[in-house]
């Protein structure tokens, strides 16, 4: 197991989507490779930061227009 291989498996490792043998190989590599450990931790942190920042405002005017359009559509007989 080398660093390049670990990087290619980062996503699968973070998602727990690896078989036991591959997971063990990566973890053995991480015990001796601080750089790969940093990349994994920083990648996990990056994903968490983006997920935690997802407070997209849903504008009231957009909601009003959506429901008005729906009402118009629902009033129409099915074509």
């Amino acid at each position: 197991m080398n660093c390049n291989r670990v990087i290619l498996e980062i996503s699968n490792y973070i998602d727990g989507d690896l078989d036991a043998a591959m997971k063990l190989e990566i973890e053995q590599h991480l015990q001796n490779c601080g750089e790969c450990m940093l990349v994994i931790n920083q990648t996990k942190l990056t994903v968490e930061i983006f997920c935690d920042s997802q407070q997209v405002e849903f504008p009231q005017d957009a909601r009003t227009r959506l429901h008005e359009a729906l009402q118009r559509k629902m009033r129409k007989p099915a074509s």
């Binding site: 996503s11 359009a69 629902m74």
Partner: protein, 236 residues
Amino acid sequence: MGTAALCATVINARAGGHGYSSARIEYSALSVSHPHRLPSKVAREDEPLLVKAAKSGDAAAFEELVNRYERKIFRLTMNITRNREDAEDAMQDAFMKAYSHLNTFQEDSRFYTWLVRIAANEALMRLRKRRPNQVSLDEPVEGEDDLMPREIRDWGPSPEQRFAQSEMRGILDQVIDQLDADFRTVFVLRDIEELSTEETAAVLGLSVPAVKSRLLRARLKLRQKLDRYMRDRNPN
């Protein structure tokens, strides 16, 4: 039970009655720690009933489904298009199409996943019009060299500790704007909307390996872009 009665039951249940209260309590608990997330893992036992009612022509049932998902669908279309006007148009057209084609929904998957597929396609269509060279459904052809991080070093205090909240918001907006749309879309569906790899592949018409490859690239590129801000702020 008639469809009108069903909707009344749902509304009453949401007010705290019947068997829905446990889901509501769990939802509240989740909302405290992750206010941006809806409880995708909380059982929504009434959803199949609402879908059946809506299919049989109950407009109130369909409106309940819209109320439930409109915020998430707007967030999705906003994250894909990165444009407020396109996001609203894509959201609105997605719900209109869902209403028109509700009878084609097979009910062998989650209604939300079906809705996401429609909304993602609406958003991607607008993105292709606005940025025609940025969106491709082809398999990725990039080599592995561009993925390998260089000059790796400890970030020290986390970005959230280092930057003020408003500054952090601006940085994240810039970083995700810079990400290629192909990668951003997969990242949004997998990591933000929490679809499975298989669901994401189905929504985008990609193979599972292609989704995994794009997700890996998206995550590594986001880390790399964030890394630049961390270095700029702390050059030592």
